[in-house]
Each structure stands twice: as structure tokens, then as C-alpha cells.
């Protein structure tokens, strides 16, 4: 075909400059992502806004269990009988069913230290500290984080031989991930969805109304070049959003993020898909009003059900099923895998799926989107 990279780049230059000059473009590219992460980070990360009680049942009679509890106490650091905010550790009696005990206290967060904790630790065996929590509650994430830190500290101490007992007591804990760790990839997915989708849906109808497409069709610029330039632009804005959000996530909320090339793949694939989808949606409707309705119909379910603000695993089963047909889910799931867990193998499936559907949607968009009329 008649493809020219230089034409694509000329179009990119004009479009990019226009986007930055337009107040909305500037806002949605640079300001909005930062607002989002600050807002959601502050709302959900707790940040010591309220006091929540965490019950600890220490079934261990040895010294390590006690040391663990005091370590927990010192980490949480907020516990007092006053009304100060933060986590408050309380000891639970050892002769009760812990789960029922939590219910009786209307609490969902708790930690159980097993009876053989000292023994196992000192003999270098694997041992589990059980963390009780509510997956949708942010305090649970904080509790998990604290337990993880303490466990980590114990392991390090074990390794340096202070206890001069068996090393590598690899204690497994539920998870050491905080809500913010999930929020950063989710919001990157959100930014990769909203900004190109809304822009493309809007553009496809206003350009048609103002005959800009007709005008462009009278130049050697091809539809593919034009669409590609938009994809490149939104890859750039998504990368900028990523940098800004990650910076805020890490420096303001202490998110743990692994930087690697897998992230780059998703920062390419996401905008590739959503620019194409936006264009395809835009071709369906003739007026700007109809276009925005159709655009919202496609965008909003994806925005909320793909794991942007909450982990999909915290949703009921039927909604999880819905999430699995939404392409954004695969972007966020993949980003979670590479950014949080560094699990590339799990992300390959997401990448492949996203790439395949992007190619299809791109081809459909180029086919169905018309510069001129019959």
C-alpha cells in the first residue's frame, strides 16, 4: 500500500500540537491522571485516617511468637487506647475459634501465630502466619503489608544469624501487596482507555460534520497513516500518564512497582487497541450526540469492571465473568502481572490476546471508517 512514515509523522506533529494547545487535551493528558491517583490513593490507601483494630492470636508459647507480636506492635506504632488514627493491635485469647471471635468483635482483620511458631522458626522450617482479612477492605491490605514487613524482618534476622538457629525459614504469608500497588496499574489502564476512546469517538463525528475527513481525503494522507498517527500520539500520552501516576504512586503512597519491558508492551498495546476501537465506534454513529452515547455504552462498563479501581478478584463471580470479555481487563491484568508480581509468563497470554484483538479492531476500523461517501 501507499504508506509513508513521513506523512504519518507530519500528521502526528499537527495533532499532538493541537492536543496540547486545547485545554481539554492538556488536562486529560497531564493533569487528570495525577488527580485520579491522588484521589483514589488518598481514599483507599487509608493513610491513617481512621483507627482500625487488628486482633492477634498468639498460639505460640515460645519466645519467637512473643517477639513477633512485639515487632507487629512496634511496626504499627499507632496502638493506643486514645482515639489516634491508625492500626491498633489487640491480643485475642488463645482458647477461642479465631474466625468466630473476629465476627463477635465485628472485625475482619486478624493475625494468627501458630502454636509451633517458635519451634519451626528456630529449626528453620517453613511456617505460616495466617492473616485474616476482607479482600475489599483497604485496612486488610495494610495489615497484610505490615505482616509482610515483620515477616521479612524476621527472615533477615534469621539469615544474619542473630537467632543462630536454622536459616531460611521461608515463612509464607498471604500477600504483601497494598491496595495502591493494584491501583497504579488499574489507573494506567483507565487512562489508556478513556483518553483515546473519548477523543476518537468525538473526533470521528466532528471531523465528519465539519468535513475535515473530506478535506484530508483530498490529500495523499491515507486512513491508515492518519489512524497510526493517533495511535502513536496516545501511546505517548499513555506513557506520560504512566510516568506521572507511577511517580505519585511510589513517592506519595509508597507503591511497590517493578519496572520492566513488559510494561512497555502494554503501554503500546492499550492505546493501539483503544484508538482503533474509538474509531470503530465512531463509524457506527452519524451525529456527535449518537456517537457519544455509543461511546459511553462501550466505555463505562469497561471503565469500572476491568479492575481499574478494585481488583477483579474482589468482585462477585458473575461480574468477574463479565470482566473477562472486556479487553481492558487483559491490559490491567497483564500490567498487574508484570508491575506487581513480575510474572511475565502470566502476562504473555494477556499480551497475545490484546495484540490479536487490537489487530482485528484496527483492521475493522480502517475498513469501515470512510473519508468520503458513496
Amino acid at each position: 500500500m501507499r504508506f509513508s512514515l513521513s506523512r504519518t509523522m507530519s500528521d502526528l506533529k499537527v495533532y499532538g500540537r493541537s492536543s496540547l494547545r486545547s485545554r481539554e487535551g492538556f488536562f486529560f493528558t497531564l493533569v487528570f491522571p495525577v488527580i485520579l491517583i491522588l484521589l483514589f490513593g488518598a481514599i483507599f490507601s487509608g493513610g491513617g485516617v481512621s483507627q482500625s483494630t487488628v486482633y492477634v492470636q498468639n498460639n505460640d508459647i515460645g519466645p519467637v511468637g512473643a517477639a513477633f507480636v512485639s515487632a507487629l506492635n512496634s511496626t504499627s506504632n499507632y496502638c493506643s487506647n486514645s482515639s489516634s488514627a491508625g492500626l491498633c493491635l489487640r491480643l485475642a485469647p488463645t482458647d477461642v475459634n479465631f474466625s468466630q471471635y473476629l465476627s463477635s468483635k465485628s472485625a475482619s482483620d486478624g493475625i494468627v501465630i501458630p502454636a509451633n511458631f517458635s519451634l519451626a522458626f528456630e529449626s528453620g522450617q517453613d511456617v505460616n502466619v495466617t492473616v485474616f482479612g476482607n479482600p475489599s477492605s483497604t485496612t486488610s491490605a495494610v495489615v497484610s503489608g505490615i505482616v509482610a514487613e515483620v515477616v521479612n524482618g524476621f527472615n533477615v534476622r534469621g539469615a544474619t544469624g542473630v537467632h543462630h538457629v536454622g536459616i531460611a525459614s521461608r515463612t509464607a504469608v498471604s500477600s504483601n501487596y497494598k491496595y495502591i500497588d493494584f491501583l497504579v496499574p488499574g489507573l494506567i489502564g483507565f487512562a489508556a482507555l478513556t483518553s483515546p476512546m473519548f477523543a476518537m469517538v468525538n473526533m470521528s463525528s466532528t471531523y465528519r460534520r465539519d468535513k475535515v475527513f473530506k478535506l484530508l481525503s483530498l490529500t495523499p494522507l491515507t486512513k491508515t497513516e492518519w489512524l497510526l498517527s493517533k495511535i502513536i500520539w496516545y501511546v505517548c500520552t499513555t506513557v506520560v500518564s504512566f510516568v506521572l501516576m507511577t511517580a505519585v504512586g511510589v513517592y506519595v503512597f509508597g507503591a511497590h512497582i517493578a519496572l520492566n519491558w513488559g510494561i512497555g508492551m502494554f503501554l503500546l498495546l492499550g492505546p493501539f487497541f483503544f484508538v482503533s476501537l474509538g474509531m470503530l465506534v465512531g463509524t457506527v454513529s452519524n451525529t456527535p450526540e449518537a456517537a457519544s452515547v455509543v461511546g459511553n455504552l462501550v466505555t463505562f462498563p469497561m471503565m469500572f469492571l476491568s479492575g481499574t479501581f478494585f481488583p477483579v478478584s474482589s468482585m462477585p463471580k458473575y461480574l468477574q465473568a463479565v470482566a473477562h470479555v472486556l479487553p481492558l481487563y487483559y491490559m490491567i491484568d497483564g500490567l498487574n502481572e508484570v508491575m506487581i508480581y513480575g510474572n511475565f509468563e502470566a502476562a504473555y497470554t494477556d499480551m497475545a490476546l490484546l495484540l490479536a484483538i487490537s489487530v482485528v479492531v484496527f483492521a475493522l476500523a480502517v475498513k469501515f471508517f470512510r473519508w468520503r461517501e458513496d
Partner: protein
């Protein structure tokens, strides 16, 4: 070879026959105008020639090419300003021209081109902040980036104030002087008379008259007419005492003249009537007279989109 050749061109939208078998040709270097009320099929015709719409039947050739099938080739050699030209909101005229230059792979000097269309005073203003006339002039500048042989202007001055309209006309005349072929549509008679070498008057998708304005006036007009300011008494006298065709009203009497004898008879009768009269003029039917006759008084009022 004519620059533009059209014959038996037809295009239908649903039940509406927008273009109904039009035929015409435009020679190289000529300025040709399609004149007609809204809904006459002007825009559809010009868009088919630009390769923006496909025809139903008939032939349309521009520079020997089928506009729809060979659009990519054709577009390198024609310039187009669509009706109500709009561009992206934020580029400046200078940036827009550089952009077009890059798309066409042509080296252009934006400042020089902007001078040519008399827009050098607004070369760094965002498009959205340009006036209507300035936008239209940018449209002309963009259509010239590829140094086109044929330029299509679809209602280039609709909605512009008289001053901006004259500025656009000036640019069109320059294009003609440069030897380019120009095809324009308009519903302003004055514009067609000012700019066009030949005019085709369209109504309901058909060409009802075509030629130079003089040709149209003499062929479709009723020849010379004498117009006198005078009252009903004069009108009545002329009707009763001569065999001349006379119309009147609003303090004006029009006498249609077939030959010199009619003129002499009319003058004599006016003198004999003893009625008060003044401001006697003799003129040919104007293009406007012909246009109104062909298209109808209501023709100028919108009949819906084209």
C-alpha cells in the same frame, strides 16, 4: 482535452434526484460557475468531480481521470475548498500550510503562499480565532499547496461580509491569471457575473441555461426593455393606446422592446400621455432577470440541503 468533462451525470439520494443528467465541459484556464438556489445539485455535482462522492450513472472526467476511481492520482493535481471550509482548531495558517506541504511532499514557503491569498497578517493565529473570511482564504492557500491545475470552490463566499467576499474574488482572479482552471458554485449572481467566463444555471439537478452571461441574457432574456418612473396613469395610457407589452407597479413602468420601432413608439406614447414621468432608462435583461425567470422567484429560498 477539456479540463472537466461531464455528460449525463446522475445522482440520487433516496427519492431525491439530486443531479439529473447534467452535461457540460470546462476548458483549461477557464473560470466556470454553477449557479443555482440551494438544493439545485451544485454541491453534489462538484463533489462528484472532486472524487468525494460516487456517481450513479453518466461520465465525469477531470484532467482525463475518473475522480472516484483515480482519486489518489487526481488529488495531487487538483485543489479543493469544500463548502463551509473548516480545519482543525489549533494549527495556525503557517503550520497548516507546512502540514499540507509535507502531506503532498511539496516544498512550500508558507509566508509566500499566505501573501498570495492576502492572509499574511494572520499567519500565526490559531485557526479557531480566524474570521470567516480569513478561514476561507486559508482554505484557498491550502488548495494551492500542490500547485493544482484545476481548483474547485464550493460556495467560497457564502456567509462572508462584502469586504471579505471581494478579497476572495481578488484571489480567484489571480488564480485565473495564473492560467488555472477554476470551477465554482455559488448562489450569488453577482459572484458568477464577476468571476466566471461561463455560467451554468442549475435547477432541480438539471442545467437550465449555460454560456457566457451575455449569451444567457440574450438567449433567455426578452431583449431590451425601457424602464420609466411613472404612475398608473402612464401605465394605463400605454396599455390602451399602444400594442407594446407593458408591465408596471410601484411607481415604475417597464416596456419590453422587440426592435427599434418599438423604442420609437414607446417614446412617442410616453410623450403623448401627458402623464408625469422621469428617469427613463433602456437596458438589456440582466442575469438576475433571467435567473429569476428560469429558477423562479422562490428559487433563492432554501429548499433543504444539497
Amino acid at each position: 482535452m477539456p479540463a472537466i468533462e461531464v455528460s449525463g451525470l446522475k445522482k440520487k439520494y433516496g427519492d431525491i434526484q439530486a443531479v439529473d443528467g447534467t452535461s457540460f465541459s470546462v476548458e483549461e484556464g477557464e473560470v466556470f460557475s454553477l449557479l443555482g438556489p440551494n438544493g439545485a445539485g451544485k454541491t453534489t455535482t462538484i463533489e462528484i468531480l472532486e472524487g468525494l462522492r460516487n456517481k450513479d450513472s453518466g461520465t465525469a472526467k477531470v484532467l482525463g481521470l475518473d475522480p472516484w476511481a483515480s482519486g489518489y492520482e487526481l488529488h495531487k493535481r487538483i485543489g479543493v475548498i469544500p463548502q463551509g471550509f473548516k480545519f482543525l482548531d489549533y494549527p495556525t495558517p503557517k503550520e497548516a500550510i507546512s502540514y499540507y506541504g509535507a502531506l503532498f511532499g511539496k516544498k512550500v514557503d508558507p509566508d509566500e503562499l499566505l501573501r498570495r491569498v492576502i492572509l499574511d497578517d494572520a499567519s500565526n493565529v490559531w485557526f479557531q480565532n480566524l474570521s470567516g473570511g480569513q478561514k476561507q482564504k486559508l482554505g484557498m492557500a491550502l488548495s494551492l499547496v500542490n500547485d493544482p491545475h484545476v481548483i474547485f470552490l464550493d460556495e467560497p463566499t457564502t456567509g462572508l461580509d462584502p469586504q471579505a467576499r471581494r478579497a476572495v474574488w481578488e484571489v480567484v482572479r489571480k488564480l485565473k491569471d495564473e492560467g488555472r482552471t477554476v470551477m465554482l458554485t455559488t448562489h450569488y449572481l453577482e459572484e458568477a457575473e464577476e468571476l466566471a467566463d461561463r455560467v451554468a444555471i442549475m435547477k432541480h439537478g438539471k442545467i437550465v441555461a449555460m454560456g457566457t452571461t451575455e449569451e444567457i441574457e440574450s438567449r433567455f432574456g426578452s431583449g431590451q426593455r425601457m424602464v420609466v418612473k411613472g404612475g398608473d396613469d402612464l401605465l394605463k395610457y400605454l396599455r390602451e393606446n399602444t400594442r407594446l407589452r407593458v408591465e408596471g407597479g410601484a411607481g415604475e413602468v417597464t416596456i419590453f422592446l422587440r426592435d427599434k420601432a418599438d423604442a420609437m413608439a414607446a417614446l412617442g406614447a410616453i410623450e403623448e400621455s401627458g402623464a408625469a414621468w422621469e428617469d427613463l432608462t433602456v437596458r438589456r435583461d440582466s442575469l438576475e432577470d433571467v435567473f429569476l425567470k428560469l429558477v423562479g422567484e422562490s428559487g433563492g429560498v432554501g429548499e433543504g440541503g444539497e
